[in-house]
Amino acid sequence: MTNVLLERLRQGNRTSRFPRKAPDFPPSYRGRPLLFPSRCTSGCRGCEEVCPTRAVHAEPLRLDLGACLFCGRCEEACPAEAIVFSPDHRLSVSKREDLMLSAEKEFSLAGALDAKMKSLLGRSLKLRQVSAGGCNACEVEVAVLGIVVYDLGRFGIQYVASPRHADGILITGPVTKNMVHALRETYAAVPPPKLVIAVGACALSGGLFANTGETLAGVPDDIRVDLFIPGCPPHPFTLLDGYLRLLGKIDQKMDKRFRDAVSSSPASR
């Protein structure tokens, strides 16, 4: 018993100060890609050809963040730096079309729930996770938010064991034909009003498995999604940022701090 307490003292407090403090990322980190079509003069279409999920369209330059694996191959292929991955971890949106990046359009981050839903769920959000063909990458990053560093519980958010106890479901995976029935049953078992959060390239677009004939290429239309979180898998801070935006817990001051951190980050290139 004493050794447990001593070890507890030695380990100290490890909880991050997010969202009051911006997260630190190493230079290698690839967050939201930025598009600079004016730099593209050769028209080589290299970015389009190397994309494993056809998320990039060269002319005019578009990038579907919902299909993006953040592998950085397009950035690598481009001789003119027309696509650059920034260290911005904020990726969540409220509408699928907001994930279609172009230079003309400002990236529109997810907004908060309406006043009624916020009063219902703002201080206590229970989620049931359903993996529908997910490879266990999104799943482990969704689950990791429970550890002391992210400490999901301090925001009143919890993953629960039954859809009956949940305010919404969080879906990962391209939705395999073999799981669609169980997914729909789970969704139906959540008492209304209910939320749906879709996580990862597979759930958003089918990702690498959109055309194998074994999946529905992402969450089907009859399940209305309230929050889209792209990534393969998303970084835990990207996930947390998304959940907190939905609950209206990221204020303007925090957002400014995140923006400042991005511009001064060693990962800005």
Partner: protein, 501 residues
């Protein structure tokens, strides 16, 4: 290479090949179905274990076996018709492979004792429930009851269906029905552009992105007749061991959680992040996605990055030693781990278990030593073997493996060889076949590929270690209390997606 007859190694009349060395298809002799059976059983009796059984093309059956002691692979190949005589009764490790063949090709394994579908292909119009799709083995008798769990589980984990036959609290039999995660991985690998295949391989099992990625690049490099430069080999080894550490440490934490030793769960869950963040430093992704490419790696860490990883590892190592010391001395942990979910060495061999689950039963096998490729030809990691076969042995095997991987990481990071990080990939050799093995953190990962006369990939087969080990979990549950299932399950922590493909 030729057909060798050297009874001393036990491989008689089987074609011998090495890990990650491509051979012309024409060199692998085609035999009669009866000889196929005799040859496979002979190899097995001489100590080789079944690595894979599959159909590389219609009407052709192929078996790959591993003679771990001599470090050789044996390949047996035969022409077959619409059915073949099942090996399962004599060679139980063939059971899932034969069910897979029946499901994918409609070729019947005659005499298979339980030939039910392996990955259920539900019709979208008629969503099938597990009940309607399959029959389950049922125990009869008074007081016997059945517990059905899944596909959606209580935790944040992948889906699968578990059917327990119980007498009171005691589990008499567990049957595991998977397939819910079937995404068409092998077809996606075959059809993807050559440069994109690695992304699919990295998504076979998300927690094994480096392991499966490496098995894939190993196969492609062998088919192209190249190998990555030394610096890349060292960095690939580093990434593979970081992946092993993150999963071992995370699972040790989850095991603490399952026996309600929450301090251990909290500390180990946090320490796991140091290894994932080291992979992030290397590759830009916490699971190491995007790091590997056929021919080498994509990112070259500078000295700042190398030092930052070393610093992280040294701190994590210190924390980990303190925590493991507390965990393995806690009576509440030890008393729950010991004698729970016990498997015998004989059963582990019969089922063909791999990885730490097999090593915890006394099976001395590890691809890094038995079939070394890349950096493991020059830097060996001692193999960790325990023989108790229970949850404690599985946990302790993994705890010891963390120490040994940590030492390897320090050595490699301190003396990282200079030089280029990738070679250009030439076209693949036509009409060649390759077997690529990697010791992932769960065990032996197998990728097999074949090219046609134009050098295009015509066949690709993946075997995740979970494919062998799921039946090990089912057998470990026999005679256990059903409330020990989460603990037993976590001590194996198998992949659903890797099994279902």
């Amino acid at each position: 290479m030729a057909i060798l007859s050297t009874p001393s190694t036990g491989i008689v009349n089987a074609f011998r090949m090495d890990n990650c060395v491509a051979v012309p298809m024409a060199d692998i002799p085609l035999c009669h179905e009866d000889d196929f059976r005799r040859c496979v059983m002979q190899c097995h009796e001489d100590g080789a274990r079944l690595v894979a059984l599959f159909m590389p093309e219609p009407s052709e059956l192929m078996a790959v076996l591993s003679a771990d002691e001599s470090g050789e692979l044996a390949v047996v190949r035969a022409k077959i018709g619409n059915s073949f005589s099942s090996l399962t009764a004599e060679l139980p490790s063939a059971q899932a492979f034969e069910r897979e063949i029946q499901e994918a090709h409609g070729v019947r394994p005659e005499g298979h004792p339980w030939p039910k579908p392996l990955r259920r292909h539900a019709d979208l119009e008629e969503p099938a429930s597990p009940e309607s799709a399959h029959s389950f083995f049922a125990v009869q008798g008074s007081g016997i009851h059945e517990v059905a769990v899944g596909p959606v589980h209580a935790g944040v984990i992948e889906p699968g269906h578990f059917r327990f036959q119980c007498a009171g609290e005691t589990v008499l039999h567990l049957e595991i029905q998977l397939g819910y995660q079937h995404r068409g991985v092998e077809a996606a690998l075959r059809n993807a552009a050559p440069g994109s295949r690695i992304s699919v391989a990295e998504s076979i099992a998300g927690d094994t992105s480096i392991g499966h990625g490496l098995a894939h690049t190993g196969a492609m490099e062998a088919l192209a007749g190249v190998e990555p430069p030394l610096r890349a080999q060292a960095l690939i080894g580093i990434a593979l061991e970081l992946e092993r550490l993150s999963n071992h440490v995370g699972d040790l934490g989850a095991l603490c959680n399952d026996v309600a030793f929450l301090p251990g769960a909290a500390w180990l869950g946090r320490i796991r992040g140091d290894f994932l963040n080291s992979l992030l430093d290397l590759s830009g992704n916490r699971l190491g996605r995007g790091f590997l490419c056929p021919g080498g790696i994509r990112f070259d860490p500078d000295d700042t990055c190398r030092k930052s990883i070393l610093k992280k590892l040294n701190a994590a190592d210190k924390d980990l030693q303190h925590v493991l010391d507390v965990v393995f001395r806690a009576p509440t942990v030890v008393s729950r781990f010991e004698q729970t979910g016990k498997l015998s060495r004989a059963l582990a061999d019969t089922l063909g278990l791999v990885g730490p689950a097999a090593r915890a039963c006394g099976c001395d096998r590890d691809v890094r030593r038995d079939h070394p490729s890349g950096i493991f030809r020059f830097a060996q990691i001692p193999v960790t073997v325990n023989d108790a076969g229970d949850v404690m042995a599985r946990a302790f095997t993994r705890a010891v493996e963390t120490r040994r991987s940590m030492r390897f990481l320090r050595e490699q990071l301190e003396l990282l060889p200079p030089g280029p990080i990738a070679v250009t990939m030439p076209a693949l050799l036509p009409d060649h076949f390759v077997v690529s093995l990697t010791e992932g953190w769960r065990g032996e990962i197998v990728h097999m590929a074949m090219t046609d006369s134009r050098g295009a990939l015509v066949f690709y087969k993946v075997v995740d270690p979970s494919f062998h080990n799921w039946l090990g979990l089912a057998m470990a549950m026999r005679g256990q209390l059903i409330s020990d299932f989460p603990l037993c399950n976590k001590s194996f922590n198998l992949s659903y997606a890797g099994h279902d493909l």
